[in-house]
């Protein structure tokens, strides 16, 4: 079962961008790993930016679904579910968004165009609960950081797999951080 070229390009690009960053990853590098010329690559994508868009399209949609759900509930009502959803997001096939959003060259361009910070804001609001104040916001951001960082740490230790035990542990730590 052959994987089509478009998919291979995205896999290679995702890999390179994850380790080097978007700004420091060149079309030439991607083409080299692909085993073809740069021109061949431009047959499949009309720009470097389009490659980034293609990589992040599904992750963005998945995150949007998550934030839509979080926004529908009243703030603070289902904080634990939101944290669990974030853990599963980072552990799942859309994890690259969580990795890329730390890259300033992505943040500066793609993230602004796609309102990524707004979505983060929605998650925070849903964790904060009613009557927000500085303390609650700090705790909410702390909890979200635990969900993200804890999960990627667990994945690194578990060969890319998140055990149910680890998941439970991360969620508990995030809930504790939330106070």
């Amino acid at each position: 079962m052959e994987v089509d070229t478009r998919t291979r390009i995205l896999d290679i690009a995702r890999d390179l961008i994850t380790t080097q960053g978007y700004g420091s990853t060149s079309i030439a590098q991607i083409a080299e790993k692909l085993g073809t010329s740069k021109a061949a690559l431009y047959y499949h994508f009309k720009s470097k930016e389009e490659i980034l868009d293609a990589i992040l399209a599904e992750p963005l949609a998945a995150l949007s679904e998550l934030t839509d759900k979080a926004a529908a509930d009243q703030p603070g009502k289902h904080a634990e579910e939101v944290l669990a959803a974030m853990i599963d997001f980072v552990a799942g096939p859309c994890s690259c968004l969580a990795a890329f959003e730390k890259d300033p060259s992505v943040l500066h361009q793609w993230a602004q165009r796609n309102n990524l910070l707004d979505k983060e804001e929605i998650l925070i609001t849903s964790l904060v609960g009613p009557k927000p104040n500085t303390t609650k916001i700090i705790r909410a951001r702390a909890a979200l950081a635990v969900a993200k960082q804890g999960t990627s740490a667990a994945l690194a230790m578990g060969d890319g797999e998140l055990s149910t035990d680890a998941r439970k542990e991360i969620l508990a730590a995030a809930v504790r951080a939330l106070g």
Copy 2:
């Protein structure tokens, strides 16, 4: 009281790299903000890399001091102090290291040369305590994430100042995450 050119360059570069990333910040951009030519800039620094090194020299030394202290204690003994030290580090004049270490283009080059991940490892070890296991490591990374992310969130809300209340709150959240 004039600020010397070298310092101005570092201030400008630190600013640009923070928002755009190292790989996406060019000498030309720095020179433009400086109000001089690129050649003038090369009189003060012989390469782009040297600018990065100069920016991070003090922060690296400060972090090393922190990890040396953490490594001297027996593991798990003074976890709260370590977390507090990390909060103050992120809130202090060396905060740019915490910002830069999220940039893959910095991680890929500078961080490897300077064993940044080793230093992170030392901090984790000092938080984990004796008889490490997966759970303890997850909790340690969670706590460290709270210290870092919580602090930068608090700084963003407080115009760059970390109030004593916020500091107490972040530390408490980190300790809770640690379990």
